[in-house]
């Protein structure tokens, strides 16, 4: 499995390559877009201006292209807003054409209309179907494969069993000259599959999260709430402002209930997967046929991202040296989490099963 890491700035590229990233994803938003649409109609899901989460300027992309040429670690550009308005489709097509001219060929896209538009315009870029698109299942992948996908990114709420089933379905459909073989390009038989591995576990599903993500307000899922009984009108006092009521994200203050496991950050305050972790599930993800692991974190503290990449690489090395899943989890936990983990599991079901096994 390859590590696909978020890139917030071109200054991070070499550092992240040197510690083990195989490829990257990042946003590029031209000034003219921001001037016209601000954060009202953003170009990708990092809907902010006040953070270094986008590659700023075409000039930077040219520098990044030179880096990619040297290190051969590709960069995918995100155009993954859930939807766009009619006038934006031709504008995006022009931006993508410009990016393709300087060497960027793969794009992470969530809006089916944009994929359709690009294909209608005969723009033959590689398309990674964003995890923000919709529910991912076999039928959905079949549907979008008609638009020539290079990769499918599973969303945060897909189980490993779901992924395995989808991947098996695709692989079987594309093998051999069977009657059921569909009209896809040969390259589609090697469709890639990406799963979330580290950071930024969200409480709601990206594809179905329509609320604001902007500079001037926090996320809607972080607004305080109370649990209330419907029938008798009483509140459940034991859960008032319950637990991590505001969010799972590490940058969010909240009134937290004590976690079962005591997190153990290092002396810089770093803990792998503090805001979302799928490391226990890597062995199973590999078995399921996942080809790429998403390490979220565009704009995160660079030192922490570097540590994330190192740790993910280390976990992958441990898989290679492990005969069984149990061996892998035991070794990985000892090495990466000697004092416990965050418990913010991407694949909680698997985590519980694995914990019971050990």
């Amino acid at each position: 499995m390859k590590i696909t890491a978020g890139l917030g700035s071109i200054d991070e590229y070499e550092r992240f390559v040197n510690v083990g990233a195989d490829e990257f994803f990042c946003g590029y938003v031209p000034y003219e877009w921001t001037k016209k649409y601000g954060t009202v109609m953003p170009l990708n899901r990092r809907e902010v201006l006040s953070y270094n989460v986008q590659i700023g300027s075409l000039g930077e992309l040219e520098i990044l292209a030179a880096m990619v040429k040297e290190y051969e670690k590709p960069v995918h550009l995100t155009f993954n807003t859930l939807y766009y308005i009619p006038e934006q489709y031709p504008e995006i097509a022009e931006i993508i054409k410009k990016c393709m001219r300087i060497g960027f060929n793969s794009y992470i896209i969530a809006d089916p209309a944009l994929i359709l538009y690009l294909r209608k315009q005969h723009i033959d870029c590689e398309i990674h179907l964003s995890g923000e698109t919709a529910e991912v299942n076999s039928g959905m992948v079949d549907f979008f494969q008609q638009m020539k996908l290079k990769r499918v990114i599973f969303h945060r709420k897909n189980t490993i069993e779901d992924m395995k089933s989808v991947i098996t379905h695709v692989r079987m459909q594309n093998v051999g000259d069977t009657e059921g073989k569909r009209d896809v390009r040969p390259s589609q038989s090697s469709l890639e599959f990406e799963a979330f591995a580290l950071n930024e576990l969200c409480q709601f599903t990206g594809a179905f999260c329509n609320s604001l993500h902007c500079d001037e307000m926090g996320y809607l899922c972080r607004v305080p709430y109370l649990l209330t009984c419907i029938k008798n009108g009483q509140q459940r006092n034991d859960y008032i402002r319950c637990g991590k009521a505001t969010s799972d994200r590490d940058d969010i203050p909240g009134k937290e209930t004590p976690s079962i496991e005591i997190p153990a950050e290092d002396d810089t305050g770093y803990l792998p997967g503090a805001s979302g972790c799928g490391l226990c599930a890597l062995y199973r993800l590999k078995e399921a046929g996942i080809t790429h692991l998403k390490l979220v974190g565009r704009g995160n503290y660079t030192d922490f991202m570097e540590k994330d990449i190192r740790n993910l690489r280390r976990a992958l090395d441990i898989i290679k040296a492990s005969k069984t899943e149990k061996d892998y989890i035991n070794s990985m936990k000892k090495i990466l989490f000697p004092y416990g983990c965050s418990g913010n599991c991407y694949y909680r079901q698997h985590y519980i099963e694995a914990k019971n096994k050990i």
Binding site: I85, S165, T228
Partner: protein, 449 residues
Amino acid sequence: MKMINGVSMIPFGLLAGFADQNEIRIIELAENGFRFRTAKDSETLTGKIKCFRICFYDDEISDYREILLREYQIEKPEEEKFYFTYSVFTKQEDFRKEVQGLLRRYTRYIHLKTEEDDAALAEALTGYPAEKDEIFAKNLTEQKNIWFQDVPGTKLAEVLHESKEFVLELDRPELYRMYLEENIQDFMKHYWEQTFFAFSEEIPECLPDRLYIGNQFCHLLFPEEKTLKTLLDKAYREDLAITIVYTYVRENLLKNTEKMLHMVDNWCEEKQKDVEIVVNDWAILSMAKKTPHLKLCMGTLLNKRKKDPRMKYKKGTREFYSENSLNADFYRDFLREKCGFQRFEWESCGYPQRFPEEKNSLHFPFYQTNTSQYCPLHAICTEGERGKQCLVENCPHFCEKYMLIYPEHLHMIGRYNSLFGLDLETLMHPEILKEKEEAGIDRLVLGVI
């Protein structure tokens, strides 16, 4: 060599730059100048540059102020492995002033972000009433009283009665049960009482033309096969048109969903009646090709748009919110011709929308903002933390007992696996619904959560 000694790496969204027509990245900014970098093979070479355009974002006006820099000096570039870095010095007064303003605003933002909570940040930047985030209704009864007590029931009923098509959503087991126990007239009386229970006026008889059966947002709220058949039979007897509502389809439920669609199609064949299906998952399209009696409606989860009860505080040009991808002809042609959609489901979400010339349903008064396939409410009730979610297989339906209540001023609730906003204006001023009809809506879908 002269030094800039400025602030490094100000986000590109706040500070953009152009050397003539070439978009550059300013990597350091000070009152006396800036540094930028270009690729080694870039055409942006110092000798050729006629002027710089520097763009400073001002969050107070949600726009940029652009300064043309004509008086400047460029130092000899520093060579790095992949790029050249240039230092540009200027004494231009308008540039200096804009730098001061930008750095002041940026510093303030960092302070607010790191020292204050989300509500205080929003208050400082948008006037969001942070103190109101502390005010909750005591319970659901009080919440509904606050929301609904002044709703003009008679007027609402009149508008619904006169509408082109008035539809009621049966979206949860308790409503399935309630509907099956009573005839439609009695059911409606109880529906008004149980869902609103706070109207100051009595709602006159107002019967729906159609029922939406199923839930757009949670797969665990779809009726079981036997219940669905019974609901279909009863609606048929009562001469109500039927729309069956599907949400996303989990991978392990694909086969069962296909089986159910065939069951419904067979029922249609038997009754010689077509039924609509609300589709919220792309996988259903291929299934529906084999079920000729099922007419497809594009559901809310696929018909996306920005929805947030705090929208009125959002800065920026609001007119862009009025459209979405469905306003693009090429996309609608595809959805109609290649996917078979015959109708589109919209929600009333507190701001004007431009509906395309299609068959359009409008759901009101609640609109979905966030949904998770793993149930957040289940996580709260079992783990004590909303974030500790996993796939729920044997759902105990905590949503029949519990819901999440939010700061009163936000007009939102957490129900099932989702968050919803309330567009109270559609209830308080039912003429808005008439206006929506004039704007292209031909069906009003009432769903009180």
